[in-house]
C-alpha cells in the first residue's frame, strides 16, 4: 500500500455572527451583558475617533508618520476583552483599541507618535509589551512568554497580533512552531487586511487562508469575519479558555480590509481602486455593531450622541496634556537618550553624554558616579 490518505485531525471553519446589515445569528450569538456591550462599543468608537484625529494631527505636523487603525477595531477590541489583567498583550502596531482598553493613556499614545520613547512604556501593573515595528518579530516574544508561563506553572494567556504580510516572515513560522511544540498558551490573532503596503494577498501567498497554516503546526485555526466584533469575541474567548486550561495555542485569522493607507506616508491610489475600497466600506465594523446595539436596545440615539461628545472632549484634553508634556523634562531633555540603554551607564556613554551636554550648553540633571572599584553607577 504505497499511497494512502493521511488523516489530518483538524477541521477549518469560518465564523461570522453579525452580518454587515446588523443581523445576528442567534444560535451563535455570544452572551455579553448590556453594560459590557456598551463598554466594548465605547472603546471601539474611542479608537476610531482617536485614529481620525491622529491623521489630522499628522497633516498639521504635530505628530510623525503613523499607521492608521480605522476599521481594525473589531479585531483588536473583540479579542483583547477576553484577557484578564495578568494576561499578556503583545501587539504589532494597529491595535489602538487594545492599547486603550488595556490602560494605556491617550496622552502616552500621542507622546509616542510625537516621537518619544516615553510613549512606549507599558503602564504600571499591566503585562503589556509596547508597539512592535519590526514585522512578525513580536510573535516570538509572545511564544517565549507563553513558554515561561508554562515553566513557572502559571495560568496566564498571551495574545499577540500580526498582519497578512507578517505571515510571510520566518519569525511567524518559528513562533507558531515554538508555541505549538511547547503548548504555550498563545492566541495568535492575524489581522488579514489583504494588503502589505501595496502587495495584495494574492502575491503574499498561494494558500486559500492563513488560518489553515495552524493545521500544519498541530494547532487549531479558524478564520473569522474581522469586521464582526461578535465573531472575533467568540473565537478568541474559546481560544483563551483553551489556552488557560493547557490546550495550547490557536491561530485566529480575522479577515478585514485595510481601509486606510498603510501609513500617513502611503498613497493607496497607486495600487488599488476606490471602488474596491468602497465595497469594503459597507462591511466596516462600527456601523453593524451600532445597528446591533440599537436593535438590542442597549443604546439609544441619545446615548451615541453623548458618547461622541465625551470622547471628543477627552481627545481634546489629551492632546493639550501631551503637547504640554513635550515642553517639559523628561521629554524636553535630549540627554535622556543615554539614560536607559543599560541598568548602569557604561563609561563610554558617560563620556558621550557629557560631550553632548557641553555642546548643547545644558546641565546633566542625573549625575553618573563611579564607585571605588571604578564601576559607573547612577546617582542624583
Amino acid at each position: 500500500m504505497p499511497r494512502t490518505p493521511i488523516d489530518i485531525p483538524h477541521k477549518l471553519e469560518y465564523l461570522s455572527i453579525l452580518s454587515e446589515n446588523g443581523e445576528v445569528d442567534t444560535k451563535l450569538e455570544p452572551k455579553i451583558e448590556a453594560t459590557k456591550l456598551k463598554e466594548m462599543y465605547r472603546w471601539m468608537l474611542f479608537a476610531r475617533r482617536v485614529d481620525e484625529r491622529l491623521l489630522k494631527l499628522q497633516r498639521q505636523g504635530r505628530i510623525g508618520t503613523f499607521p492608521q487603525a480605522s476599521g481594525h477595531e473589531a479585531i483588536s477590541l473583540g479579542s483583547v476583552v477576553n484577557l484578564e489583567k495578568a494576561d499578556w498583550h503583545v501587539p504589532a502596531y494597529r491595535e489602538l483599541a487594545g492599547f486603550l482598553y488595556r490602560g494605556w493613556t491617550l496622552e502616552q499614545i500621542l507622546i509616542y507618535w510625537m516621537g518619544y520613547e516615553e510613549g512606549a512604556v507599558p503602564p504600571e501593573g499591566t503585562n503589556d509589551l509596547p508597539i512592535s515595528v519590526p514585522i512578525a518579530s513580536q510573535l516570538l516574544h509572545a511564544a517565549g512568554i507563553g513558554m515561561a508561563n508554562n515553566l513557572k506553572g502559571d495560568k496566564n494567556v498571551v495574545m499577540t497580533y500580526f498582519g497578512d504580510g507578517a505571515s510571510s516572515e520566518g519569525d511567524c513560522h518559528e513562533a507558531m512552531n515554538f508555541a505549538a511544540v511547547y503548548q504555550a498558551p498563545v492566541v495568535f490573532i492575524c489581522l488579514n487586511n489583504q494588503y502589505a503596503i501595496s502587495v495584495p494577498l494574492t502575491k503574499q501567498m498561494r494558500n486559500q487562508t492563513i488560518a489553515q497554516r495552524a493545521l500544519s503546526y498541530g494547532m487549531d485555526g479558524i478564520r473569522v469575519d474581522g469586521n464582526d466584533v461578535l465573531a472575533v469575541y467568540a473565537a478568541s474567548k474559546e481560544a483563551v479558555e483553551k489556552a488557560r486550561n493547557g490546550g495550547g495555542p490557536t491561530l485566529i485569522e480575522c479577515l478585514t480590509y485595510r481601509y486606510t493607507p498603510h501609513t500617513t506616508a502611503d498613497d493607496p491610489t497607486r495600487y488599488r481602486s476606490t471602488e474596491e475600497c468602497n465595497t469594503w466600506m459597507a462591511k466596516e465594523p462600527l456601523i453593524r455593531f451600532e445597528k446591533y446595539l440599537k436593535t438590542k436596545k442597549v443604546m439609544t440615539d441619545a446615548d451615541f450622541k453623548t458618547m461622541e461628545e465625551e470622547i471628543d472632549a477627552r481627545i481634546n484634553e489629551a492632546i493639550t496634556n501631551a503637547e504640554e508634556a513635550c515642553k517639559k523634562p523628561p521629554l524636553s531633555d535630549p540627554l535622556k537618550m543615554f539614560d536607559y540603554l543599560y541598568a548602569e551607564l557604561p563609561s563610554n556613554l558617560v563620556e558621550q553624554k557629557e560631550e553632548l551636554a557641553k555642546h548643547l550648553g545644558i546641565e546633566i540633571t542625573e549625575k553618573e558616579t563611579r564607585d571605588e572599584a571604578g564601576a559607573v553607577g547612577r546617582g542624583k
Partner: protein, 326 residues
Amino acid sequence: MPDINMAKAINMALNEAMERDNRVVVMGEDVGPDEGVFRVTEGLHAKYGDKRVIDTPLAESGIVGTAIGMAIYGLRPVAEIQFSSFEYYAYHQIEMHAARFRNRTRGRLSVPMVLRCPSGGGIRAIEHHSESREAIYAHSPGLKVVMPSGPRSARALLHAAIQDPDPVIYYEPKALYRLFREDVPEAIETYPIGRAQVVQEGKDITLISYGATVRAAIDAAEILEDEDGLKPEIIDLLSIAPLDTDTIVNSVRKTGRAVVIHEGPRTCGIGSEVIARINEHAIEYLEAPIKRITGYDTPIPYFARERAYIPDADKIVAAVREVLSF
C-alpha cells in the same frame, strides 16, 4: 582548587548558576540529552530536566526571540547558539529587541539574557563554523559582549553575564575548550563586565588581546623575553563592550607602544576601536605607530588554510620587533 579545561569551567558555571537561581534556564539546539555538540551542557538535562534544559527547534531567531519573551517574563535564559555564525539568523531579534527593550520602555522592561556562542577558528571545522564576528555586536548599542581566554575567566565571566541585568553575548573561543587546564577557585568567582585584566606586567610594549589570541600573546611574550630581553605587558580585554579604556590607556602611557591582536577581520574590528581610544587619550605618549595583528579582511579560510589566517605568536613577535625598531 579543581584543575579543569574551559568546556568544564563553562559547564561548572551553568550548573552553579542553575543551582543558585531557579530562574536560570538553559536552551538551544541539542543542549538536552545530547549535552551540546561540544558537551558544554553535560549533566544538566539529567539533573534539571526538560523544563530548565530546553531542546529547541532548529531556529535561531526562534531561540533568541523566545528567550527575550522568557526574560521579560522574569526568567534568566541562557541560550546557546550552536555556532556564532548561526547568530545571523537571529540578528534582528538581538539588535531590534534584546538590545532595545530597556531603552524603549525607559527601564520598565528589560532582557536579562545570555547568548552563549562558540566562536572563532582553529578546530578544522566545516565552512561557516569558524567566524569571529564580535565587532558586529560591539557596534550594536544596548548589548554587552564578553569573551573569556581560559577556564578561570570563562567561569567568572559567565557568572557575571548571568547575573547581569542586561543582555550579554558570551563568546566561547572554541579552540580553547580542551586546549589547556587551569586551576579555578572553589568559591564562585565573578569578573566585572567592562573590566580588562593585566595578565602580565611589563614595560617595553603593550600587547592587547582577548579570547583565543591571548594565548598567542603570552607565547609571543615568552619568545620576546628569551630572544630579545623584552618585557611586554599583556592585557586581556575580557569585555569587548563595554571596553575598559582606563586599563588600555594606563598601560600605553607606561610602555609607549602597543600591538593589538584579535582573530576577527581587521577593518572596523575591535582593534580599530582600541586604537581610536588610545589616540583620544594617550597619543602624546606613543613612541611608534600601533600595529594590528588580526584576521585578514577575508572570510576565515576553509580549514586547510585557516592556520595562515589566525594570529599566532610568530606574527606577534614580528610585529613587536617592527614597532620597537620604528
